[in-house]
Symmetry: C2
Subunit: 302 residues, 2 copies
């Protein structure tokens, strides 16, 4: 099987499938597509949804880029001349209601070639993580169980390892909080004694396909709930933490910005309306404080 072709086809199918499912859940807004080309080779399809019944702002983007390996990567991998191919799907969905969690997911594949065109390095990376504004334990359990069940069908060591990696990665060190309640995160995933490239591809396809099962039931469950002005305010404060993570700590964002990636496709991850109050404090014992408690002390949800 040609891993590159199979995964590339998959991300386009998945983009269609996820956009259709989100449009259905929203009931009003439709994704609008912006196609773009990368000067060095390749391009992407950025699909944005805004001002929906349910979704205030979201993007479900694919990109397939190739060409001469950027210099920063050459240095990192200690190669002089190399070409590459990278493709992936990246999504961030910010619902209007503070009762519905924000979700982020990303699935990607990378290949690097020598002058003869042979693959000298390749890997899968990805993950799916949830950022609620109010903690609903059953939601967290449902989300993590979906990830665990999917992982367990491929390799029972994956979920515990990737859950931990997710909490470690999505961490606002300057706040001593995780960005959300996590999920799974993995990178530089390569063939080993147990997992062939074909097995890794099968895992990566399923990781993408289980997104809908993990997230959409939470949307359906909460989308008709009412919320107060104060709860919306809290959501906007928490969105500030989301922005802080993405701009201060996220490697993908920093890398994209510094290598002159397409700014609007990278920063589509930022929420529509955001708030920073000086030294915002939650009330002791409040629902807001309960969320912070879990972000400061990540829990096992399965």
């Amino acid at each position: 099987m040609n891993i590159k072709e199979a995964f590339t086809k998959h991300i386009f199918d998945l983009q269609n499938r996820i956009c259709t499912a989100l449009e259905k859940a929203d009931g009003k807004a439709k994704f609008v597509e912006d196609s773009w080309e990368r000067p060095g080779g390749g391009g992407g399809k950025t699909r944005i949804i805004t001002h929906g019944n349910v979704f205030e702002k979201g993007g479900v983007n694919t990109s397939t880029v190739h060409g001469e390996l950027p210099d920063v990567f050459k240095e990192k991998f200690g190669v002089n001349e190399a070409r590459f191919y990278a493709c992936g799907l990246s999504l961030v969905i910010h619902p209007t209601s503070p009762k519905i969690p924000t979700v982020h997911a990303n699935w990607r594949y990378f290949e690097m070639y020598n002058a003869a065109g042979e693959i000298i390095k390749r890997w899968f990376g990805g993950g799916t993580d949830l950022t609620p504004y109010y903690l609903v334990e059953e939601d967290a359990q449902h989300f993590h169980n979906t990830m665990k069940n999917m992982c367990d069908q491929h390799n029972s060591s994956y979920y515990p390892k990737f859950k931990k990696a997710c909490d470690a990665y999505f961490f606002n060190s300057h706040r001593d909080e995780t960005r959300g309640i996590g999920g799974i995160f993995y990178d530089y995933m390569q063939q080993d004694d147990r997992m062939t490239w074909e097995a890794l591809l099968a895992f990566q396809l399923d990781a993408g396909k289980c997104f809908e099962e993990a997230y959409l039931p939470l949307v359906e469950k909460h989308k008709t709930e009412t919320y107060t002005k104060e709860q919306k305010y809290w959501q906007e404060i928490r969105r500030g933490r989301y922005v802080e993570f993405n701009l201060l700590h996220d490697r993908g964002t920093q890398f994209g910005i510094k290598t002159k990636g397409r700014t609007e496709s990278i920063l589509m991850s930022l929420p529509a309306t955001v708030r920073w109050d000086y030294d915002f404090k939650t009330e002791k014992g409040s629902d807001e404080a309960k969320l912070i408690e879990v972000l400061m002390n990540p829990k096992d949800w399965v």
Copy 2:
């Protein structure tokens, strides 16, 4: 003259003076002070103004910190053991009205000591820069002329050099725009043939003292002007660019966050309400487009 003592006294006087002047211009809100201590030595006085008649959110902060030089600095300066003293005043003022520019200023002094307690390195740094939401040429001229006149009293090479450095530093490379219309910016300023430490101190004191003359007339001029919902929306979009600069590019913010500085004092620079639209576009020939034009092609204002 003891430079350290003189400058330290100055920043506290200046903090009082600037806060009083801003409160007077606001007519309603008062600064609230948070004193904090740094575990390794020293501390700061963070003063925040919010929900004023004029100022939506602002901070005028002083800090005087000392102790063992942090490891990142030791590496940078190639020393094994060193102690340091650093003090400065840092301010960011975000008015409610999009007709009044946001302003940022910072004046700082740093000393490094060997084991015998002798100064082995020291410098001044600082700057003042303006971020309008609508371009008013006379305002830009007034602001820059104030900086130039102040600089010229000390060293005629300063203004041209520091104006250029300001445009280069406050640059959102991923947007190909400066953050605002600039002002002056300087760092690692040390004694040379022309400027003694005393002369540098005199410059640094005047740089701080001219802040009120540079900024307050713009507040007075615009504070009674009305503005539309669309103009407020535009301000919030532009505030997004301000956040992007501070979190993605600003060396001070990155350094503060990574060396575990006081998060709330560092991030007081972020505006209260901020907006990110996907691929926001200005209308051709509009006032909004005129601002962008100048941010993409910095002008000489004097």
